[in-house]
């Protein structure tokens, strides 16, 4: 731990500080957006978007290496694939629910396959591992600015449209009757998730980003009294998992993203088990009966 703290203040190692700032900025997205993804039960949709992103990354690497589009950054290809995936998933979810699962799984698999094929045909060496599992030490100053901007947008949207988000997630039909544009909220959530996935994949990778969008908020959900508390709790837990994971990965010389996800997963499973055991004991001790209002 002291080694990590020393590295944090070492002027020769700005990437360590960048990683910490990126982790804390990511925590806001993991907590706020993750709570919405969790209560709306669209983690599967977010997973499909995040995995389809590899297709865009592979395509950008290929086009750049071949000189077809010189200096095309992978993040540009990722963004294109993420937005297209979100649009297709949104359309299918709203208009053709009976095919939803098939289309989502197809996008998931095709996106990754296209990425692998492009990377295989890219001249020179392109390591897919850093995209799949993340490399937070590669976070640039531009990435931090983009993350901060997205944080501000997501927090503003969550604050401004909190009643509408809460109602459409809790009871979509009722929200529609009250005039809430539930389809627009759903599509906006997918679009923001798509952009967030692209920015967050640098941190934990496209394979594990969905874990961080669900585990901290899911853990916070056990203690939260409402969606807002779940967002705040998820953000705080994400920050704790991130800082703890970065320090542990530094000390153990392990990939930071994987360590962070393992810590978040262990916390979620531990809390789930504790809650399960407690509710089991309660049922044994006090058989359920009718309660009068």
């Amino acid at each position: 731990m002291s080694g990590y703290l020393t590295a944090l203040v070492d002027p020769a190692m700005p990437f360590v500080r960048n990683a910490l700032v990126a982790g804390l900025l990511s925590a806001v997205l993991f907590g706020t957006l993750g709570a919405v993804v969790t209560v709306k039960r669209i983690a599967g949709l977010a997973g499909a978007i995040s995995h389809a992103v590899l297709g865009g990354i592979g395509m950008a690497l290929y086009l750049s290496a071949k000189g077809i589009v010189p200096n095309l950054p992978p993040i540009a290809g990722a963004m294109v694939f993420a937005v297209i995936s979100a649009a297709i998933i949104g359309f299918v979810s709203l208009k053709a629910k009976q095919r939803e699962d098939t289309v989502i799984n197809a996008l998931w698999a095709i996106g990754m396959s296209v990425g692998v094929l492009f990377i295989a045909k890219t001249p020179g060496y392109a390591d897919p591992m850093s995209y799949l599992f993340g490399n937070i030490l590669l976070v640039s100053g531009r990435d931090l600015v983009l993350l901060a901007i997205l944080d501000a947008i997501v927090v503003f949207l969550a604050w401004r449209y909190y009643p509408q988000i809460e109602a459409s997630a809790f009871d979509e039909e009722f929200a529609k009757v009250r005039g809430v544009p539930t389809d627009a909220i759903f599509l906006a959530t997918l679009a923001v998730t798509a952009v967030a996935v692209v920015l967050l994949q640098t941190f934990v990778g496209i394979v594990m980003v969905i874990a961080m969008l669900t585990l901290p908020s899911g853990t916070a959900g056990y203690a939260a009294r409402n969606l807002a508390a779940m967002m705040v709790g998820g953000t705080v837990l994400s920050a704790v998992f991130t800082v703890g994971g970065l320090a542990a990965s530094w000390a153990l010389d392990m990939p930071a993203g994987a360590v962070v996800v393992v810590i978040a997963g262990a916390a979620f499973l531990s809390v789930s088990a504790a809650v399960g055991l407690r509710s089991g004991k309660t049922r044994t001790a006090k058989p359920l009966g009718k309660k009068k209002a």
Binding site: V39, A167, E173, G179, L227
Partner: protein
């Protein structure tokens, strides 16, 4: 709003899901202030009628008016209690927050002091004020249903629509629900939808049955008569028997013609 005003009017409304016809030239109306029951077996088309009057579906032919307006424009004056057979027990939300959703107005703004006062009144009217701070997931099925009634009342509706409100409800909750509805009757139009085609609560002024009618599927007004062999706790009080062998014309109600709106 006078007694002759019409709250809900279906004029020759037809609707189909693809090639599957659900309603065929259905015409009926419900007066403002009435307590009406829409009955019919499962799959008869009750939910379709609800979707049409809530503006969640559009008729293929014919016209639906609610409170004198197209349904989409009348939504802010409608209190809706969905059947809500399923909910997410992991959704963190309190009873007060659920009821506050009844104050939503599209995408506009956040909740204010007036909303808090309306929520307090609605909780009291639905007899769930004592549950205000409880987690929604910690309630019994009957308590949750009454909370959803409070949510609908928070809108201070001119029209209250309840879809199968007594499904899976214990006798005590059912009794309290009808007590609440009895208190509201007259100040708002109430439409209760139920698959129980045999009997309705004695609060009912008009009974409509959805289902097969000759070559098509329509909505027919029936008479209902008091019965004394039904246990009072089943309908929260005295019950009326629906007389399915009576078919009343749409303008059969007292002092009413089609121009009554």
């Amino acid at each position: 709003m006078g007694i002759q005003e019409v709250a809900i009017r279906f004029d020759d409304v037809s609707f189909a899901y693809g090639d599957l016809p659900v309603l065929d030239s259905a015409s009926f109306h419900i007066h403002a202030g009435e307590f009406a029951a829409l009955v019919g077996p499962n799959g008869a088309g009750k939910t379709t009628v609800l979707k049409l009057l809530l503006g969640l579906a559009r008729p293929r032919t014919g016209r639906v008016t609610v409170l004198g307006r197209p349904p989409e424009e009348a939504r802010s004056s409608i209190g809706y209690v969905p059947q809500h057979a399923s909910y997410d027990p992991a959704f963190p939300i309190s009873v007060t927050e659920v009821v506050r959703m009844g104050r939503l107005r599209g995408s506009s703004g956040r909740y204010g002091p007036n909303d808090a006062e309306a929520v307090r009144r609605a909780l009291s009217m639905a007899d769930v004020a004592g549950l205000a701070d409880r987690a929604y997931s910690a309630l019994s099925g009957g308590q949750r249903r009454r909370v959803l009634v409070a949510r609908a009342l928070a809108a201070e509706p001119e029209l209250l629509v309840l879809d199968e409100p007594t499904a899976n409800m214990d006798a005590e909750s059912e009794s309290r629900l009808f007590e609440t509805l009895g208190g509201i009757k007259g100040s708002a139009t109430i439409l209760i939808v139920t698959h129980d085609t045999g009997f309705v609560t004695a609060l009912t002024d008009a009974v409509f049955c959805v289902g097969e009618r000759g070559s098509g599927r329509g909505v027919v007004r029936h008479k209902a008569a008091p019965v004394d062999h039904i246990a009072s706790e089943l309908y929260g009080g005295p019950a009326l028997q629906v007389l399915h062998d009576t078919e009343l014309p749409d303008d059969a109600c007292r002092g009413c013609g089609k121009a009554g709106s």
